[in-house]
Each structure stands twice: as C-alpha cells, then as structure tokens.
Amino acid sequence: MISYWNWPKVLGVGIGILLLFFPKMLSETHINLSIEIFIFALYAVSFNLLWGYGGMLPFGHGALFGVGAYTAGLIFNHIPHMHLLLTLLMAALSGLVSAMVIGFFCVRLKGAYFALLSLAFQMFLFALAWKWRDVTRGDDGMGIVRPSLHLPGLGSISMMNINNLYYFTLIIIVLGILACYLFLRTPLGNSVVCMRENELRASFLGYRPFMTKFTVFSFSGIFAAIAGALFVLFTEFMGTNSIDINMSMAAIFMVLIGGAGHFLGPVLGAAFYTAFQDWISSLTKHWWLIMGIFFIVVILYLQGGLISLLQSERIRFWLGGQNKSANGKNTESRKPV
C-alpha cells in the first residue's frame, strides 16, 4: 500500500501530524529544541537555494541571518508595540535589501571569489555589530522581551508561552519553506538551476546570468533574515552570535549533512545538526571536536548527505519505494548534485 501512496508523501504527512502534536507530547526542553530546529531549517533551506540550486556557495550567508536578527532585535527593544508580523516583515525587508546590496557585487564573481567576497561583507557587518556599541551593544548584546502576537478575533497571544511560540514559529517556517519550494517550481526557479548547470549555454539561450543570480540571492536573503528574526524572538537575545562566521559555517554544515541533493535535505540537516549538537554538548565540553570529526566523515563518505541514505536503493526497497527510471538512473536533474 505504501508504494501505491508514494512513501515520501506518507512520511511527510506523518511528520506533519506529529509536529502538530509535539507540544502535547514533548517536554519544554524538547519543544525549545524543536523551535530551534525549525528556525535553522528555514535558514538552511534559504542557503540551499544558493548552493544546491544556484551553484553558488557563499561563505557569508550568516550576514543575512544577522541582519534579520538585528533588525528584529532593535525593533523589539525600541518599538516594543510594533505588531510581531510587521516586525518579521521589516526583518524580511532588511534581509532583502542587504542581500540586494551584497548580491549586486557578489554574483558577478564565481567560485572562491564569490565565496570570499560574501565573507568579506559578513566580516564588515560583524564588525559593525561588534563596534557600534551605541546601537547594538557590541559583544554584550541585548536582551529582548518577546512581544505578544495580536490577531483579530483571537486577541493577544503571548509568545512567552512556549507552546504558542512553537506554533507561531512552525507556521512561519512552513510558509517560508513553501515559498522557497514554489519559487523553484516557477520558470525563474528553473532559470536558477540553468545557471548552475551551464551558465554559458543558458546565456546563449537568452538567459541573463546576472539578473537570475541576483534575484535568487536577494530572495534567499528574505528567508535567512526571517530565520534570524525568529532566532532573536526565540532566544530573547540579540547578539553578535547571530552574525558571526559560525552562523555562516552552520548553514554550510547543515546543508552538507542533510544533503544539498534534495529540497528537504537542509531541513533534515538542520534537525540533525541542532539535535546532535545539543546532545553531545550535554555529554562533553569538547563537543566541537566530535562535530569536527563528524563533518570530516560526512564530507569524505557521505557527500549526498543524510537524505541520500533515504534515497538509496536498499531503503527505497524496504519502504516499497518508487520505481527507478528504465536505465536505472535517476533522471530527475532538477535536483542538485
């Protein structure tokens, strides 16, 4: 029966139902962990638009996460009565504008130069966050108070209640990931994949590489910034940890672990990265060492990421999965390497 229903869909619906009931089933610690996973899932998906689909690997994606975080943090502090959704919108806009400025310069470059220029922009923004103490409070950061969400008909929903925060984050993240998914299904999304596959050929078919890459870079910035804003809302703290180099590396590792080879790979990667880190850091203070070894193993032996394990033939067989194409190879090439 499962093969008839197409097992990924069954799995998806199952996980979806589980997610709805998590707050009833889990302890507060685990709900907190779930929220963190959601936030990083959106962040990783936004990163995968660039790396997995656009073929661009930025080292400074954390800059966009950080811009969203600081925008939201400053609004929470200085305009506490602003509607929460409007704050998220402002964060999204700040991400869009920053990504447009950074992307305008970066997408002209390729490979290492692209990666390093994006990193340079991040270092600049990090320095700004660190040194402009009057506004950002530098490395001390700033605590924030979670505002309530006012919705017509539902009144005021307190974000201090962890269950409310859970559902709020879940809804925003699902909408964000859905937007990214739909984006990739549009002709423009297809153009992005063409850039990755063969930019020169695409140009000779009439595609304009700069505009295509610039657009996906900007679009991706929106969602990285929303994730950053939710991160501040969740941690109740605005600090340089949201804009430092580790945040960029986290995106790379999450996508790498999950697998850039699939749209949902980064979601899996974010879940694994966050949960695994949470778990081993409770076991040893040398947890980074273990993470490091783990990354090395993934890079060496599991380049398709964890999702490639799910896609492997044996597991598909056990799950009664989809048939392969006649020549035994997966011909769905929209999926990245």
Binding site: C194, K329, V337
Partner: protein, 253 residues
C-alpha cells in the same frame, strides 16, 4: 535581398596576437552561408565575436539593422541570433527534454516569470515535444544529456539552437566528430530544421559545404580570402592556391 547581418572591418586580438583583421561580411536573409578555412584561420573566433562571446578589438557588427557590437550575449540571442558550439555545450545533468524545455521557456519569454508555476498550461511541454520530434530524438526524451551518444548530443546541440526559433542560426562545425554516415544524416537534418531560415555554418567537410551552401566565405590567417557562390569559389585562383586540394572538383570544375 535583405541584409540581416553586416560585419564591418572587424578585428580581434588576443594579448597583441591578431586572430582576425579587417573582416567584412554580409549575410542575406534566407541564405545558407558557409565559412571555411584551414585550422586556426579564425573561423571560430569570428563566430564567437559575432555571437557576443568575445568583444571585438575593432570594427562593428550590425544585426537586423542594430549595432550589436559589445552587446551582452543574452541580448543578442533575444534579438534572434542563436548558435551551436563546436565542443558540445548542453546541460549535461538534465534530461534531453529538460534541455529543450530550457530553450522553449526562453523563447516564450518566461525566463523571469516567478508568479506562476513552470508550464502551467502545458504549452511549453507541447512545443518542446515538437522540437524533440523534429530532431527525431523522441526515444531519448528522458535520458540525461550526458548519457546520450556523441551523435545524440550533437543533435541536442542542434535542437537547442533551433528551438529558439531564431532569425539567424549559426552552426559551428555541427558534424565534428561524426562518421560519414552520421554526417550525411546530420546534414539532412540541418537542411530540414533550418528550412526557410538564415544559416551560417562553419564546416570542415568540403563535400558538405559545397552541397549545402548558397554562398561561401573563405578565411585564411584571420582575413577573408574570398566570398561567393560555390562555383565562384571553385574558380577563384587565390582560393585554389591557398586551399586547392580540399575543394571538390576544384581543378576539374
């Protein structure tokens, strides 16, 4: 007949090394124009310069009465110029259908469309299928382009070029690497898919060139040696001197 492409005094240097100098060329609407010349004569450089891949060092290029000199590639393509490559240039990881679809999406001006799903009304699919059938590639529809045979990839290269429904088609050695039988089929196919179009073709096989072309331009050492009908080229004494042994029936005809 209407001129659709005019190249005026075109030169191209690479770090001081002159590859093309003083090229003047006119292409008329509807003609099949072949460019021939020994290896290293500058044929591909001429192609690359006209199609926007290289910026000319001197000179001007007019296409459909517009000065396209220095234009970016995509703009030239959108004006109606489409080219193939000597070295296969396709989307290797995409299926053959997806390859052609990319061209059709562009032709229907959907490249930047972000507010509807790809091919919602099936129009792009229908047109892609039509082009695939035109090239007799139907059975390989779902095969990743990298897994096609060399001949198949050559056909796909041609498919991508004609799928844009361009005004001017430029084919850079479309039979390179094909055997005699495949070359014959390829030429038939080229005749079929470029019917009623303007064609510039670079080709090494002189049999093919003299059968296919309405006019021929001979390039040697970066300059044009002669331009004319196949008969005129056969009779041209300079061409005979530079290129005699290659041209079929040159001594007798």
């Amino acid at each position: 007949m209407e001129r659709i492409l005019r190249v005026e005094n075109l030169s191209k240097d690479f770090s001081g090394l002159s590859v093309l100098s003083g090229i003047n060329l006119e292409i008329l609407r509807g003609e099949r124009h072949a460019i021939i010349g020994p290896n290293g004569a500058g044929k591909s450089t001429l192609f690359n310069t006209i199609s926007g891949l290289y910026k000319p060092s001197h000179g001007k290029i007019f296409f459909l009465d517009k000065n396209i000199t220095g234009w970016p590639i995509h703009k030239i393509v959108r004006l109606g110029l489409s080219r193939s490559f000597q070295i296969i240039n396709i989307f290797p990881k995409m299926s053959l259908f997806e390859n052609v679809q990319n061209a059709i999406v562009s032709r229907f001006n959907q490249r930047f469309n972000w507010n509807s799903l790809l091919d919602r009304n099936g129009k792009i699919k229908r047109e892609s299928e039509r082009v695939i059938e035109l090239l007799n590639l139907g059975e390989f529809r779902n095969v990743p382009a990298s897994e096609l045979s060399y001949g198949g990839q050559r056909k796909l290269e041609l498919a991508l070029t004609v799928a844009l429904d361009p005004v001017l088609i430029m084919l850079d050695e479309p039979t390179a690497g094909l055997n005699t039988e495949e070359t014959r089929n390829a030429i038939q196919l080229i005749r079929k898919v470029t019917e009623g179009k303007t064609l510039i073709i670079v080709e090494h096989d002189m049999e093919v060139v003299f059968n296919l072309a309405d006019r021929i331009t001979v390039i040697s050492y970066g300059s044009i040696l002669a331009t004319g009908t196949p008969d005129e080229i056969r009779e041209n004494s300079e061409v005979k001197r530079a290129y005699l042994q290659r041209i079929p029936n040159a001594s007798s005809g």
